[in-house]
């Protein structure tokens, strides 16, 4: 039996969770004070997810970088891979907020999209 400790981030309270696992299965969750906390603890123990935000190069843009983010959360374990993919991308302005920059990044089913409009350098 394994015990994992987390600080819940479902709301600002930050309850200290203890999740007991038998192999890949969650046996018990302790320390939460609401449903959301229980869900978070379970997810975090089995397959932690994160939202990711970064920037991509846009050489002809008003600014040289375009902020982007994952429209949905991705597995925490694969953040580095996603960042590498993002680092390799170059886009061309003009861009509109929520334009898809990388669809279904590394097969996660999550798109990387633009966080803002980016006009071209005039």
């Amino acid at each position: 039996m394994e015990e994992k400790n987390f600080i819940c981030t479902a709301c600002p309270m930050g309850c200290k969770l203890i999740v007991r696992m038998e192999g890949d299965e969650v046996v018990k969750i302790l320390g939460h004070r609401c449903r959301k906390g229980e869900t978070y603890g379970r997810q975090e123990a089995i397959a932690p997810q994160r939202m990711l935000a970064s920037t991509v190069k846009v050489p002809n843009g008003f600014h040289p970088l375009l902020p982007v983010y994952t429209k949905g959360s991705i597995p925490k374990q694969r953040i580095s891979e996603v960042l590498e993919k993002i680092r390799a991308v170059e886009v061309t302005a003009p861009i509109k907020a929520e334009d898809v920059i990388i669809p279904n990044v590394i097969g996660t089913g999550v798109d990387v999209i633009a966080s803002r409009d980016m006009p071209a350098k005039n």
């Binding site: 970088l65 925490k76 374990q77 953040i79 960042l83 590498e84 680092r87």
Partner: protein, 498 residues
């Protein structure tokens, strides 16, 4: 950049700049070399900014002579060179009855030195002059000829006037050795090549001993750095207008509390002698000393309101005083040594060095004349160094006219001190150009306010890169090895998840 000159001045501090200004009046090619990335980066920009009345130096010393001779020159100088200067008068404040005889002694000394316009104030009078003064004040010496300036502006203005009159200023150029023809100095070797001249003037400040030793002059003369630490206060919280000295001690004039021409109040300096000529670090002990010193004069002063600190190393030398009957070994060295031709030697120009600078420059020219140099005055010599507009100090109408003239003055870059892009660009392209962030800061006072560069820093770096035509990675705070930016954001690989 030619190699042959008539005069080379080593050192771009206030003394070197002033000497260059005086020499630029005469025919002859003049070069000033400065090892740092900007003029005046030594104690010329890290001092109390006082133009001393002259009661403090020992009567009979060269310090006293230079101080009292120079003091009246400042009004005309400020007018010609367009730098900020005000005669606010000095107060030397006695705390407690036991300090009264000391300020009387100081006044006597002032009279001996020929200082005009001094007066004794009683305790009540002193309290009425400075509301927050230590209530235990027993009186003060008030020297009305004392003044304050912006010492960096003085240095830059003097150097610019020299350039306007044909001089060359080379920054990042460090003296290494002399070039000889027998016992005559005919030039200098630097990190940027050899330069030849008929006269070389040593005004290398804290390193003037090393320079003169290379000429074989005064091997016993040693400069020891005297560290002066300072605090600057938020002008919104602390507003001391007067120049307040404590009673002096053997360690120097003491820790002042004084207003400045930027309307900040500063406290300092202390005066600890150190060994390392490059040690401009602020110390914890120094901060405590400053607080004690400040509280002696203004007990209500709170360190909480300080927004910056700075440190200056004063070049304390062991030059003997040659006046018969005076036993003093911290005097200025200003001479044309008999053992070497073509060389003017200065050393130990600590306080009242800033004050004395114009008189020192005049004396250098006189010494060179005495040594046979035949100066020919330039017919087209221009004594004026024009001032540049300061948006922050202008009225609404003046600002409107300035913006109409050049739209770049409409773009405010430092919001706290109201410094515009037009002013920054003007400083980058001025006769002694500003090449680093700190150089612009010293010239415009940008980045010294509430946010301490928070808003302007990224913008100034971009403007410098653009105006100098270099990559932003070359832009530095104070010269080589102090660059801001390391690389672009997308260069390196990401580290793994833990």
């Amino acid at each position: 950049m030619q190699e042959k000159y008539d005069y080379i001045v080593i050192g771009g501090g206030v003394v070197g700049a002033m000497i260059a200004r005086w020499l630029s009046r005469y025919e002859g090619k003049l070069l000033l070399i400065e090892k740092e990335a900007d003029i005046g980066m030594g104690c010329s920009s890290a001092n109390t900014a006082i133009v001393h009345a002259g009661y403090d130096p020992l009567p009979g010393s060269l310090k006293a002579l230079m101080n009292v001779r120079a003091n009246p020159m400042w009004d005309q100088l400020a007018g010609e060179l367009n730098f900020p200067f005000e005669r606010r008068g000095d107060y030397v404040v006695a705390i407690g009855e036991e300090e009264l005889p000391l300020i009387h002694k100081l006044m006597d000394q002032g009279i001996k030195n020929g200082v005009p316009g001094m007066m004794m104030l009683d305790a009540g009078e002193m309290r009425s002059r400075e509301r927050d003064i230590n209530p235990e004040t027993s009186g003060a010496l008030w020297a009305t000829t004392g003044g304050i300036c912006d010492p960096f502006q003085v240095t830059v203005a003097a150097a610019e006037n020299a350039v306007i009159n044909g001089a060359t200023v080379l920054l990042n150029t460090k003296f290494e050795d002399f070039i000889w023809e027998g016992s005559r100095v005919i030039g200098v070797k630097t990190n940027r090549g050899d330069f030849f001249a008929r006269w070389v003037i040593n005004s290398a400040g804290i390193y003037s001993d090393a320079v003169m030793h290379k000429a074989g002059v005064r091997p016993e003369f040693i400069i020891k750095p005297r560290k002066g630490e300072y605090f600057i206060f938020d002008r919104a919280e602390v507003q001391i207008h007067n120049v307040l000295f404590p009673v002096p001690s053997s360690r120097g004039k003491g820790i002042l509390v004084t207003g400045t021409l930027h309307e900040n109040t500063i406290v300092g300096p202390n005066g600890n002698v150190i060994d390392d000529k490059e040690d401009t670090s602020m110390t914890k002990e120094g901060m405590d000393e400053l607080l004690d010193g400040a509280k002696k004069l203004i007990p209500s002063l709170n360190l909480r309101h300080s927004i910056a600190n700075f440190v200056g190393l004063r070049p304390m030398g062991n030059g003997p005083c040659y006046t018969p009957g005076i036993n003093y070994n911290n005097d200025y060295v200003i001479e044309v040594p008999s053992s070497v031709q073509g060389f003017v030697n200065l050393g130990g120009i600590e306080s009242p060095g800033l004050t004395s600078a114009p008189a020192i420059a005049e004396m250098v020219v006189d010494l060179m004349k005495d040594a046979g140099e035949e100066f020919v005055a330039k017919k087209d010599w221009d004594p004026i160094r024009p001032g540049r507009p300061r948006f922050a100090h202008m009225t609404h109408q003046e600002r409107k006219l300035l913006c109409d003239m050049d739209p770049r003055y409409g773009r405010v870059i430092c919001r706290c001190e109201n410094v515009t892009e037009g002013e920054i660009v003007a400083e980058i392209h001025s006769p002694v150009p500003a090449l680093t962030y700190d150089a612009i800061k010293r010239r415009t006072w940008l980045g010294t306010g509430r946010c301490q560069g928070g808003f302007d820093m990224t913008r100034v770096v971009a403007i410098l890169a653009r105006e100098l035509g270099v990559s932003p990675f070359e832009i530095s705070k104070r010269g080589e090895s102090s660059e801001y930016l390391f690389r672009t954001t997308k260069d390196l690989e990401v580290s793994d998840v833990n």
